[in-house]
């Protein structure tokens, strides 16, 4: 049952073949069984999940009309607040904090009847590409427990790949949904910026952060997308327009006549051979399905990474200033006679990890008077250029595509001491955030040289998210008929647990 898709689980619930309580319990059992090895979860809300499941079962028994995902379990990235459930953002500085309110994403999930199993591990404050920066220890990739599950949302992607949950929520600032999806053989979508409310998403970089759906199939991802998306008056940057029809697009999977633009700059040198091979094969399958493949150029993408590492740290240096021990979270050094300033200093010294401190320092420096124009100001100009690159390219194509990441999952610890190498992992995903457009990663197979999953990225213009779902669904169908079974069924047995 737990290996089914969310859509299949939903059908089983509707037909009465199972109950939400049974489904939820099965996932809780799976978590007890495997999470000691995977460490996808930071907190499992057994009681809350079962109560919600019971509520949905009761509502269904009363004949109430329920949404398509009612009663289906989900794993929530620990950067979104859920009332009374611990939220740490993978940081010591928030250890023990129980938020007094629900994020809008959680409100939407609850009103759709989705069962939240618990909170998933992540790089501290979503800063990282491997989940190794979590203050609570790394998450392991279910494909190979010695490898990273991607990051920052490695807990969510690993939970999906290990069948601990059929659905998950991630957040994507520079690739934190798509890169974990790519390296775990799952699907992840970063919606258009402003498509999903950021209210209750603990901010890393406000102008780049976007919550999005993660699942094992394109359709499941679309179903979850429609549950969490929509205008929210509590988020001023939320777009006041109808949600793109992503479920319909995922169901039709029609790419006939669509123009698919291959980004010249996001391929070639620096991309692993197997990654390139899978990418080329996917393009052929899409062409066979009726799409037209064209090449597009985005000359300014090469500056995206550098600009990103000015904008994101700048915003984070300000966003993370609120963690000062005054109102919530960790408090260190509060002894007799200690000044507020020294308590703030000591708390931040102890409470933040190395990567977070590195980025706060970078951002503080970049915003300093005398450096602002050269750093933050220039980075914003680059951002405009990248957006223009996308706009020009989208005149020639309906969606753009690239490999999601240059490589498959690397070993835990392999890049821990080399932040630049780590940052390069996001080279293909960052431009999407810089322009605020939509991006999806879905599995395109495994790299022959290491047997690890490879991701295929689809990018669609602002509020045209349905396009990436059409292309994703078409590719998924073509690959499935080629493989004969979902990619995850080819994953090695998880540490002896089937």
């Amino acid at each position: 049952m737990i290996k089914n898709s969310a859509a299949e689980m939903s059908a089983a619930l509707s037909s009465g073949a199972t109950t939400s309580v049974a489904l939820t319990q099965a996932h809780l059992d799976r978590i007890s069984e495997v999470d000691g090895k995977v460490h996808a979860f930071l907190y499992v809300d057994t009681q809350g999940a079962l109560e919600q499941a019971k509520k949905i079962d009761d509502a269904r028994a009363r004949g109430e009309k329920l949404g398509p995902l009612a009663g289906v379990p989900l794993a929530l990235k620990d950067v979104l607040v859920q009332k009374d459930v611990p939220t740490t953002c993978g940081s010591k500085i928030l250890e023990g904090w129980r938020p007094p309110y629900d994020s809008t994403v959680v409100t939407n999930l609850k009103s759709a009847g989705v069962v939240i199993l618990g909170k998933t591990n992540m790089d501290e404050f979503a800063m990282g590409s491997s989940t190794e920066n979590s203050a609570y220890g790394p998450t392991h990739n279910p494909w190979d427990l010695t490898r990273i599950p991607g990051g920052s949302g490695g807990g969510s992607s690993a939970a999906l790949a290990a069948f601990e949950a059929p659905l998950a929520i991630g957040t994507d600032t520079g690739g934190s949904i798509r890169q974990p999806a790519a390296v775990t053989g799952t699907v992840g979508v970063k919606p258009t910026y402003g498509g999903v409310s950021r209210y209750g998403l603990v901010a890393f970089s406000s102008s780049l952060d976007q919550a999005g759906p993660c699942a094992r199939t394109v359709l499941d991802t679309a179903l979850l997308h429609e549950v969490i998306a929509g205008h929210d008056p509590k988020d001023s940057t939320s777009i006041n327009a109808p949600v793109p029809q992503v479920v319909a697009a995922a169901k039709s999977g029609d790419v006939k006549g669509m123009k698919i633009g291959v980004v010249k700059e996001l391929n070639g040198d620096g991309y692993q051979a197997g990654v390139r091979q899978r990418f080329e094969e996917s393009l052929e399958l899409l062409a066979k399905a009726g799409a037209e493949i064209v090449e597009v150029s985005a000359p300014n993408f090469e500056y995206a990474l550098a600009a990103y590492y000015l904008i994101a740290p700048s915003e984070c240096s300000s966003n993370l200033a609120r963690f000062d021990a005054m109102r919530y979270g960790l408090r260190v050094g509060d002894t007799d006679g200690a000044s507020a300033e020294s308590v703030m200093n000591m708390t931040r010294e102890v409470g933040f990890g190395r990567e977070v401190k590195r980025r706060i320092l970078l951002g503080t420096y970049a915003l300093s008077s005398g450096y602002y124009d050269a750093y933050y100001g220039s980075a914003q100009k680059v951002r405009t250029l990248i957006t223009q690159d996308f706009n020009k390219a989208f005149e020639k194509c309906d969606v753009m595509v690239s490999p999601t990441c240059p490589t498959t999952a690397f070993k835990i610890g392999e890049k821990a001491d080399d932040p630049l190498a780590m940052y390069l992992n996001d080279i293909a995903t960052i431009p999407v955030n810089m322009a605020g457009i939509g991006g999806m990663s879905l599995p395109s197979g495994v790299a022959p040289e290491d047997g690890l999953p490879v991701g295929f990225q689809i990018m669609s213009p602002v509020m045209q998210d349905q396009r990436m779902y059409s292309v994703g669904a078409a590719l998924e169908a073509a690959l499935l008929s080629k493989w004969g079974a979902p990619l995850l069924s080819k994953a090695p047995v998880l540490g002896g647990v089937a």
């Binding site: 979104l80 940057t237 963690f323 000062d324």
Partner: protein
């Protein structure tokens, strides 16, 4: 002690001013969340995830605050920016929940305005133009209460308490350009400017403008330069100036302090200073040379403010009459002496007097009721006049009843007191208390006869033509009739009775 007098200072130096006024708007909710803004609530009861800066919470701009700021800008003759943005001002302080303040930096909402203020000079009334550089929006901080220690400041305190009720209250900052050319009148001009701003803001209805409660706060920048010099001197910025009088005193004090340093060949330090109400002097705050770098950048959680041009024109069309012009107009229309006009303004009764006059009351009578008896009762109860139960309509009615002879002044005072005591409208009070002028001449004659019988010697004096003696007899009659008689009529009848009619 200082040997330098103010005259010494102005004979040698020219002061240059710069004034920053912070105004708390009186919106019902805070700048970026829905919390109440009522003053004086229990600490931390008017807070929510947004104004406490809970992780994940986001600001949403209060539309009413934008409207109020645009109104202020228009009233100060500013241009309204078609596109303006919020920015983050980053610094750490325990009473600032986010450890950044949402403010406006290089793209404020209103720019380039002016206010003309008039002061009394040796050469008569003179007008000074104060140019406004910008008007921008921001949010207030919380309040720290430092307990223990001798200074009430954070240094040396045993512990501190934080109240976040004020955190996020909408603030508008009004910044002048430098103000040269005021010479020896600099302190008065500054005071008149703040007073004018206060009046304008009050007329706009956008703020309570209570300096003592901090809803209007002034920071005064002062520098001196040698008379004739074009080069600006080093300025100090004095904060904590909490009354109009303090504005004047603080600037005068700073001018003397600067001159003393300059005369000794010392440099003025560019710094923040705190005004001390008791001494009238300022004390050094933090030095601006170690000024914090606020690392301003555009607030990514908010979208730019792009006000609709038609909306701005609608607001402009609805602006109230400029208070100083209105005062002049009313003073002329009502023929009020300067001193009385000033008294009305100080007592803040101009609006209600005007309202009473518009309901048909004689301006002099209306003024004397509000400024006299009603002000006295308000003082007695220690409440604002407007908080009393009496309205302009009540007073207009009372004035009319007195004019018609239905009430005497003395009876009218009883009616006023009754209305204020909550006994209802003037008519209700009159009927409930049985107040009526005794107009029945025969009843009055009986009382007059009995008064004359009781004091035959006094009556005789009146008969003999010593009219002032009549007062004592009138007093007895009034007492007898419980004050309900018309004293003028009593006098007339008494004099007739004692053979003095016609005098």
């Amino acid at each position: 002690m200082s040997a330098l007098t103010y005259e010494d200072v102005i004979s040698k130096y020219e002061p240059v001013l710069g004034l920053e006024v912070h105004v708390e708007l009186n919106t019902n909710s805070k700048m970026f969340c829905g919390c109440s803004t009522i003053f004086g609530a229990e600490p931390n009861t008017q807070t929510c995830p947004v104004c406490l800066a809970m992780p994940g919470a986001l600001p949403v701009v209060n539309e009413k605050a934008i409207e109020s700021t645009i109104l202020i800008g228009l009233a100060l003759n500013c241009s309204i920016a078609p596109f303006s943005r919020f920015a983050r001002k980053n610094y750490f302080y325990p009473d600032m929940p986010k450890n950044f303040q949402i403010s406006q930096y290089d793209e404020p909402i209103c720019v380039n305005g002016y206010v003309d203020v008039e002061i009394e000079t040796d050469e008569g009334p003179q007008s000074f133009r104060i140019e406004i550089e910008r008007v921008h929006m921001e949010e207030d901080t919380g309040k720290s209460l430092h307990v223990g220690g001798s200074t009430g400041r954070i240094h040396g305190a045993d512990y501190s308490l934080l109240d976040y009720n004020r955190a996020g209250i909408p603030l508008v900052e009004i910044v002048t350009k430098i103000v040269p050319g005021t010479g020896k009148y600099a302190p008065e001009v500054a005071k008149a400017y703040v007073a004018e701003l206060r009046d304008i803001l009050r007329a706009l209805g956008v703020s309570d403008v209570k300096m003592e409660q901090g809803s209007l706060r002034c920071d005064a920048n002062v520098s001196l330069r040698l008379i004739g010099s074009e080069v600006l001197g080093t300025r100090s910025e004095t904060k904590n100036v909490n009354s109009l009088r303090s504005v004047e005193r603080a600037i005068r004090g700073e001018m003397i302090r600067h001159a003393e340093r300059l005369n000794k060949g010392e440099k003025v330090v560019q710094e923040t200073r705190h005004f001390q109400e008791d001494t009238g002097l300022t004390r050094s705050g933090r030095s601006k040379e170690q000024a914090e770098d606020y690392r301003y950048f555009p607030e990514p959680d908010l979208v730019p403010v792009v006000p609709d041009a038609q909306w701005i024109e609608k607001l402009r069309a609805g602006l109230p009459e400029r208070p100083s012009l209105r005062r002049k107009r009313l003073q002329e229309q009502w023929s009020v002496p300067d001193k009385e006009m000033a008294a009305m303004i100080n007592a803040d009764v101009l609006n209600i007097v005007e309202e009473t006059v518009l309901l048909g009351a004689d301006p002099t009578k209306a003024r004397s009721w509000w400024l006299g008896e009603i002000s006295r009762l308000a003082n007695e109860k220690d409440v604002a006049i407007t908080a009393l139960a009496i309205t302009a309509k009540d007073v207009a009615e009372i004035v009319s009843l007195v004019a018609q002879g239905e009430l005497t002044d003395k009876l009218a005072r009883q009616v006023v007191e009754g209305v204020i005591a909550g006994e209802g409208t003037p008519a209700q009070v009159i009927s409930a208390r049985g107040i009526k002028v005794v107009n029945d001449d025969s009843a009055l004659m009986a009382a007059i006869e009995s008064a004359c019988a009781a004091q035959p010697e006094t009556a005789q004096k009146v008969r003999d033509g010593h009219l002032p003696a009549a007062g004592a007899l009138i007093g007895i009659v009034m007492k007898e009739t419980k004050g309900q008689a018309d004293a003028a009529r009593v006098r007339e009848l008494l004099l007739g009775h004692l053979g003095q009619s016609g005098n």
